[in-house]
Symmetry: C2
Subunit: 235 residues, 2 copies
């Protein structure tokens, strides 16, 4: 979930969040909406696919329809959730949310279930892509020359969950391209002329979280920064 | 949600939580389940009414059926979620979850949607009742002589939400008997011979949260304590 600030501070319990943009329906992207209740005026934006996933769960009615408008956004169509900020949602390779997986799961599908965001203001663009199963030519083309990219840094190596003894799935199976290795994001982003490259959505098995680790040094040597709580970006 | 400890610390990501007991379906009682994902072995206990509310939300499938058994518990029937701990669920006056409210809402219904817990071990009983719209004679009878009671301390006065400018509803309308006033819990619990009386589920408008406030002094003078994060109770 990406939240954009603006604000009605008039209400005693209002937050500064005027709009929330959801990029997929998985629990780590939508459960935060439950803490924005109960009378917080807000606009909620997502693709029809993701909004259907949310609508199928009555618990999200805590975002009362009297206060929260749910807006279905077509792919590749810019909109302005708050004045002066233009957003575009675009499909990236992904999959359905884990809790809706049934039988054989198709990972890497490009559609409405997993999107990236292009946020533009003052002539500059930032991309926010917390989940991406593969850095395709389309993704590379869109991101080329961007002011900043916040990108899926879930795992450093595709098999690190199993190596750490915490799961059997690869990063790719979870819908997350690894940082290292063939086709990894370090390699795939090389030479795109991006101003700031920042890893986000970092799993607790990922050694880039450890300052001074070999892996942290390696991503920094490739021009990446590792996001942290409270990080701010200036234009 | 009440969680009882036991444990499989064998798994790297396992917590000490072996069982979770849900007392109603409102968001503050069930949303925490979403953070117990994804492969945490666990048993989940609730009445059929509350379990139906959870089942109607696919997002709770993050509690994978392979790991989490959902157990429907009849009212007034003791069960043993972990060895040595006996639990009984009993109906208290309440209402449906806020996000399922439609039209005129009947508050104070006694049924499966809002329950209290009696937790017994070593010959002693503790009651956990985070939501209760009225302290009825049945509630008083059950709690009489208990070792300890953790009880709904949402609001001090029935109209404090409106007075604070954060909402139009009374405590009772939200399913929470106030602490003070006629029929309030201070009055209703008087003379029941309860060992420890502790207020829980305290709203941020409630002045008992402020140490040294008149209201805090008053509840303490009546033999109540105010719960805090990390509070522990010894037998």
């Amino acid at each position: 979930m990406a939240a954009s600030a603006a604000a009605d501070h008039g209400q005693r319990r209002a937050s500064a969040i005027a709009a929330a943009l959801v990029t997929n329906g998985d629990v780590d992207h939508v459960a935060g909406l439950l803490t924005l209740r109960e009378r917080q005026p807000l606009s909620l934006y997502g693709t029809a696919g993701v909004m259907d996933v949310i609508a199928a769960n009555p618990i999200f009615e805590v975002l009362s329809a009297e206060c929260v408008e749910r807006i279905r956004v077509p792919l590749d169509a810019p909109f302005e959730p708050v004045p002066g900020l233009t957003v575009e949602m675009f499909a990236v390779p992904g999959k359905v949310p884990l809790y809706l997986e049934k039988g054989d799961v198709s990972v890497g599908e490009v559609g409405e279930m997993t999107v990236g965001l292009r946020l533009s203001a003052g002539g500059q663009s930032i991309f926010y892509i917390p989940g991406c199963a593969e850095v395709t030519d389309d993704v590379r083309r869109r991101l080329s020359g961007a002011h900043a990219v916040l990108f899926d840094g879930t795992v450093f190596t595709d098999g690190e969950m199993e190596a750490a003894g915490v799961g059997a799935k690869t990063g790719r199976r979870m819908g997350h391209v690894p940082i290292s290795g063939p086709g990894g994001s370090l390699e795939a982003f090389d030479g795109l002329g991006i101003g700031e490259k920042i890893y986000i959505h970092i799993n607790n098995t990922n050694p880039i979280l450890v300052e001074g680790s070999e892996e942290r040094d390696r991503v920094e040597a490739c021009g990446w920064r590792v996001a942290y709580d409270g990080m701010e970006l200036d234009a």
